[in-house]
């Protein structure tokens, strides 16, 4: 029997048993857990009926931990032990963080990554996030009445590899089996798409507490195909709070605020922002710790002014994403708003203006992501779906590459490649007898490695000692369905295989490893771009030189005036291109000159041969 009953992959082995799986939106400001029950996805509430869990964790000296609403209320009382917006610290080093976040916590650097000092000891953002996930996990298990087989955890689409790894680790630490990391806008699209059975191209504009994503998807016959994503993983509703906070501080002319006062005013700024989504004016009232009362009104027009630059900042990624798809605004069939921050009227206006249509908001923007994740979790767990067969095809948000000579990033997997994806590239040795090569894996769109995110460094040893350029090292990048990268390298010229597989770890300190590797550093990286330019330059100069010398000898017999003019102009163009150090232009100009001069070279050769035949010796031409 066992041999005959081969289960369809993805199907439950015991079809009558519903496997419990949840979707979790681990948000900057709020988190939520949802599950599919009786065929439809619902957000699970706590015992008080609250559906959202504030992503705030308070540590006490006795080891007790408070998470959620209570912790959020305690922010101003115990600012340094009450941690909020920890998502913005995930997979980040201290140097990555903008000023407002640095002043909000007692931060320190451990193993190159940022950690937070609390009364209960030092905590990593991963550990803090795990506390939030544990609460959601037990809420789900209580609510669903059983142990979970797994969870889909959502991440901002624009999260890089380090941030994804950190999120997955937090889930594991919370005792969750991660079925998949799912991009937040994709999750929202699932919630919308399956609900409405829509077809067409949709844009999901997702502005959360600390991250911004724009995602363009095509929905067609049950397939959600992400065409492009873009965003800013350090831009969100929080930044609007800080803008209001700065305004309050400036208006009140207060200086040297205590940490408690800072947190108090930040909370006031947040509620003023939220209030302004409903009303034209918000009252801000607070009593500072020294007894000084604060009372002011903030008008929506002023708020819009204060935050106009932030709204505008979201539009550049929108344009980039659209350009990557090759589509225009007219091709978009619908725009979905996700994330609490999209309640702001200024955001809705800006989105409506850009896409020339009113955005869809009929699913609660705070819940859409968790609902979509629950639907995906249900499918991954192997439960039959009421909505039939459907498939998610997501993409990698940022290009992946290797550092090459001169500190440049060589792109190996371009952004917006459909997952899973693998790409290989060959490299070679730079020096004779070189036996090791160090690899630096980076992520980002910028040319210079310094402007990209460093993911991992590793060294390939045991390369057979050969002449420079003889070894063939193939580096393969594989990105799985979670958007996580693994890298391997093989030397293949001699059949001797040296290989290493690296999972880039967010916990690795770049500087540390860099120091470790320094002694063995072999300048092995070959910069394809610089090298290409160098080769073009050398070749072009050789070409120019050979034609010049040929022209000097004698040209009248094999070149008429018009041809001479054409040749001179082609040479001038090549010299011009050389001055600009533009490899492509040099290549094209050299190709043109080469082809133009080829027939003349042939004539010159004929000339030479005929002269030889006329009785002169070859040595006369030396």
């Amino acid at each position: 029997m066992a041999l005959l009953s081969i289960a369809e992959p993805g199907q439950s082995h015991s079809p009558h048993h519903h496997r419990l799986a949840v979707g979790i939106d681990l948000g900057t400001t709020n988190s939520a857990v949802a599950a599919v029950r009786d065929g439809s996805a619902t957000v699970l509430a706590d015992e008080d009926g609250m559906r959202l869990l504030p992503s705030v964790v308070q540590y006490f000296a006795d080891g007790r931990i408070e998470i959620g609403h209570e912790a959020r209320r305690n922010q101003a009382i115990d600012p340094f032990n009450t941690l909020f917006s920890v998502k913005r610290l995930m997979g980040r080093a201290l140097a990555d963080l903008p000023e407002p976040q640095r002043r909000a916590y007692r931060l320190l650097t451990a193993d190159g990554m940022v950690k937070v000092q609390t009364i209960a000891g030092t905590r990593s953002p991963v550990e803090v996030s795990a506390e939030i996930l544990k609460v959601l996990r037990s809420r789900a298990e209580r609510s669903l009445g059983g142990e979970l087989v797994g969870a889909v955890i959502t991440v901002p689409a624009y999260f890089d590899d380090a941030q994804r790894h950190a999120t997955k680790d937090a889930a594991r630490l919370a005792g969750l089996n991660v079925l998949r990391l799912l991009n937040e806008p994709t999750a929202a699209a699932v919630a919308y798409g399956l609900e409405r059975a829509g077809e067409g191209v949709f844009a999901v504009y997702d502005l959360g507490g600390g991250t911004f994503d724009i995602s363009i998807l095509r929905l067609s016959r049950g397939v959600f195909e992400v065409l492009a994503v873009n965003g800013d993983s350090a831009l969100g509703g929080d930044d609007f709070d800080y803008a209001v906070y700065d305004w309050i501080v400036a208006q009140a002319k207060v200086t040297a605020l205590s940490p408690s006062d800072q947190r108090l005013l930040l909370a006031q700024a947040r509620s003023a922002k939220e209030c302004l989504s409903q009303q034209q004016e918000a009252d801000i009232f607070a009593r500072l710790s020294r007894g000084q009362p604060l009372n002011m009104g903030l008008e929506r027009a002023t708020f819009d002014q204060l935050t106009a630059a932030l709204v505008a900042k979201t539009m550049a990624p929108v344009r980039k994403a659209l350009r990557d798809t090759g589509l225009t605004v007219a091709d978009i069939d619908g725009v979905v708003l996700v994330g609490g921050a999209t309640r702001m009227p200024s955001i809705r206006r800006a989105v409506a203006e850009h896409f020339k249509r009113e955005p869809l908001t009929d699913i609660d923007p705070d819940e859409a992501v968790a609902l979509g994740a629950a639907i995906q979790a249900n499918a991954l767990a192997g439960n039959r779906s009421a909505t039939g067969d459907w498939l998610l095809l997501d993409v990698i948000p940022l290009s992946l590459g290797l550092e090459t000579l001169g500190g440049l990033a060589e792109r190996i997997i371009p952004r917006n490649s459909t997952l899973p994806v693998a790409r290989a590239q060959d490299f070679t040795t730079f020096k004779d007898g070189q036996t090791a090569m160090s690899m630096h894996v980076v992520q980002g769109e910028r040319e210079r490695v310094a402007d990209c995110r460093s993911l991992a460094r590793f060294e390939l040893r045991g390369i057979p000692p050969l002449a420079a350029g003889a070894a063939r090292i193939r580096v393969t990048f594989q990105v799985d369905a979670d958007g996580l990268l693994s890298v391997s390298a093989h030397e293949q010229s001699t059949g001797v295989e040296a290989s290493v597989t690296v999972k880039p770890a967010y916990g690795l300190s770049d500087t540390e490893i860099a120091t470790m590797l320094q002694s063995a550093h072999t300048h092995a990286e070959l910069d394809a771009r610089l090298r290409a330019l160098h080769e073009q330059v050398v070749e072009a100069e050789r070409l120019l030189e050979s034609i010049d010398s040929a022209l000097q000898v004698q040209s009248s017999s094999w070149l008429n005036d018009a041809e001479r003019v054409a040749l001179d102009s082609a040479m001038a163009r090549l010299r011009e291109a050389l001055q600009d150090s533009d490899a492509d232009r040099i290549r094209i100009a050299a190709e043109a000159l080469n082809q133009l001069s080829a027939p003349f070279a042939a004539r010159r050769m004929d000339d030479a041969i005929s002269k030889t035949l006329a009785g002169r010796r070859l040595s006369d031409f030396g």
Partner: protein, 202 residues
Amino acid sequence: MNGRAPQRRNRFLRRGGRDPNRLARHGKKVMPQSYFALFNLEPRFALPGEQLDAAYRQLAAQVHPDRYANAAPAEQRLALSLATSANEAYRTLKRPLLRAQHLLGLRGVDVLDGGARISQEFLLEQMDWRETLSDARAARNATGLQQLGELVRRRTADLLQQLAAQLDADGDNCAAARTVQQLMYVDKLLFDIDEAHALLEA
């Protein structure tokens, strides 16, 4: 089983399954199999987008790692590499330039092998366009970039039409290889124009 055809998947597994990393490791240099065959498509340049989309979706629905979230690790690894191959095949066939290169590769013609001669006029035009691009980039001239982009896109459309005739009707692989080479110039230029656009907005 649910009516899905397991034989189809099995056949595919047998074909691609010997070395799951074959495609990934060897990248584009080695042509291990026909991407057309992978999708059960005729090896022709003319390929209606919907036909390819439908074939890809059918395959992706069977091999995507999401379908194996509960499967044994070995099966998951296999799904990963099969889905990776399907994506690579789709990407290749989706883009006319890569599709033509792949088709020529299947006919034993390596476009990158050189030999094909590109006309002087074409190269001169390329140089002009490159200069226009670098001028527009330096002057941060978005309209200039836009106009150049449109011009180059029109040229691309013409070249693709020419290529379709050469590959499908005439079966003239040498002429097609020349056109492909020209398209590579044009394609790189379009990419650089887009990058210049992005830079303007940054």
